[in-house]
């Protein structure tokens, strides 16, 4: 177990992000769940817990791994804990959901096991009234187009950490957009290269769950 001190005491953080990082890295699962539940009670929004607590904590832990201060095992263990927390949070439907029948398809490229972000987005979209179909990582990009176009969703979302060949992504996005379906991309793979989504022809980049939800509503004309 690796114990990493929080960066500095007395932070201005309104949300207990560093406390959560401490719990996650010290394997204090109950403490982490309790923190997330507390924030959920305070904000009454699962989207806020995802965007303001879990995502920043995971991003920080990702940076720690990148800088060699924690091991990949720690990072994987933390991801598993976060997944468990995400699953335990109760739905918080919004007061003004999208129109009934609004459906989106969310997907992760093949060979990319990082679907936690997609899971958060899916739950947040559901809280906002969306009906969501998730295409598991087993689906290849070439197969995606046919499935998406045949189901006629109002939005297609692609989340990726490990990016497939860019030409392949560009082809996929282009084909889906030709069918009149807006495409939203997200995930660390896109976030680390902020201009990539434009180059690939996507309609927007959901840098976090909350941005993704608002963008989805905007792209679908609400």
């Amino acid at each position: 177990m690796t114990v990493v001190a929080t960066r500095r005491s007395g932070s201005a953080a309104r949300l207990p992000i560093r406390d959560l990082i401490g719990c996650l890295l010290s394997d204090d699962v109950e403490g982490a769940i309790s923190l997330a539940q507390r924030v959920l009670e305070e904000t009454n929004s699962r989207t806020a817990v995802f965007a303001d607590l879990l995502h920043p904590a995971q991003a920080e832990i990702g940076d720690l791994w990148y800088s060699g201060r924690i091991s990949v095992a720690d990072e994987v263990r933390v991801a598993a804990t976060v997944r468990m927390i995400v699953g335990r949070l109760a739905p918080t439907p919004v007061a003004r959901p999208v129109a009934r029948g609004s459906r989106c398809i969310l997907a992760v490229p093949r060979h990319d096991p990082h679907d936690l972000g997609l899971m958060m987005l899916m739950l947040a979209m559901q809280d906002h009234g969306w009906s969501t179909d998730v295409l598991a990582p087993v689906v290849g990009l070439d197969d995606l187009v046919e499935v998406v176009v045949s189901r006629r969703p109002r939005l297609f979302g692609l989340s990726a950490v490990r990016l497939p060949p860019l030409q392949q992504i560009e082809r996929t996005i282009s084909a889906i957009k030709r069918a009149g379906i807006p495409v939203l991309v997200g995930g660390v793979g896109f976030n680390r290269r902020p201009d990539l989504w434009r180059r690939l022809g996507a309609d927007g980049l959901g840098t976090d769950v909350r941005v993704g939800v608002v963008l989805a509503q905007r792209l679908c004309g609400r």
Partner: protein, 553 residues
Amino acid sequence: MTDITFAIGEVAAMLGISPHTIRAWERRHVVVRPRRTTTGQRRYTSDDVELLRQIKHERHVHGFSMRVATLTAQGVVIPDAAEAASAEAGGFARDNGDPLRMVADLVPEIVLVLDADGHILHANTAFVRFSDTMLSQLRGMPFADFVEPFDRAKAVRVYQAPLRQRRDWELSLRTPRHELFFAFDCWPVSSGQGPLLVLVGRDLTSTSLARQIQDQRSTGEARADPEGGHATRARSGAATQLHALLDGVGDPVRTLGLVRRWLDDTQDGVVLTRADASLTVLFANRAFRELIPARRLPVDGRPWHALAADAEGGRLATEAAEAIRSERPRSVPGLRLGGADDGDVIWDVDVCPVTKMGGGASHLVLVITDVTAWAADAHRLDALIACALAIRQSSEPHELLRLAAPHARELLPNAGSLLAVSEPGRGVVRVVATSGAWSPDGAGVESELRLALVRDAVRTRTSIEVERVGGSHGTPETFRIVPLVSMVPAPRAGEALGALAFLRLGSAAFSPDDRQLIDEFAGRLGQALAHCIDPRGARTGSDQQPPAFAALR
């Protein structure tokens, strides 16, 4: 593809913060500049949203102040020695990348790397701050765009082929918010991208945060406090700047530590205290340490009263408590210290609460200006202010002179005064009142000489200032004799109505402030005297003998 833009409500929903907060960030910290529709509505691009999101992330995750969070989100590295130390100790810190880049970002000079066409390839933090432009946007911009138009030809010569080394190449740089004068050292270097030019510019106008603070302070309104007569400032720019820097920050001590270099350059004392009853000091800049007696050092961790004893029954503590309660800045002008070794020291203190996220004051910032010298000057103005009403209300020349004489005596406590009126056309000057060294000590040669000087001043309507090495008692002496004239409706061509003279013995000559005070008093008195003599103010020639003037004689 054309990017979609967002209304402020959408941006607020995306970030989870209120539109009010976004507008405040824009207004106070110029973090983004959204475009406006024809109806004035803000429209934010995706890049704007991402920058705001990053700022929020830095604030919430790392506890940075707005300023630091903005710079971090913009990609400008903020070196942090404390953070590096914490990394050594097992804490986690972000890797800031290239050490040389970090060094360039540490120095106060601006550092630029230009290509052979004069385009900016790299700029350090100092230049990013100066230009108020994100580093990513700076890249590729022509350096000459930042140069004053009249200096551009000179700027172009810097990167004209062949590139060569130059020293102290002076250029004025300008941005919409700043205009500074730099001396550049230029070094050509070779790289894989071809020949490059490194510019290192020293700010000859010495503009830094400290300078800005000083500039703002100097433009602040200075006025005389009618109660205490002490010079005070309506509002200090320093306190405002620090308030903006610390508002909502989690660890103000650390944030002030980041800008200690600038704070140590200021002449104002800057102190951070806990928001407790004893105002425990957590941080103090160099100016404050120099303001207090050396035996009271060190200051950290000590209560305020142990460093600066308040002689006014805890007025500062009262104002501090009010600042904490109301979460609004307070001003304590003319605070007199009462410690045994404080002497007659007077401070103006601005008290600014540092508020936590979610509200509540956690700390106080005290910005202290030593106004002891100003207060002394203000006391002297008291005499001027006190006499103003009296001499304006006088309608008779005799009464006016009777009222003016004691004020003349008190105007410069360490100088003797003489008030005289003239008898036009007869070359006679009659002394009305004297004090101090002007008092007659017999009909000696010295007295005659002094009166001759007064007559000359009246006759020529010219101020006379004479410094004599050996005076009546063998000591140096300085005279200043100012004629009493009326400037309204028009200067009279003949003699003055009288003269106001001051004499100071010893080597201390009249200071510019003394001269201003004498001239101001003489001007008011001359105006009032002319009004008493001719209330219509119609007299314009010396040959006209005003009826009221006869009564004066």
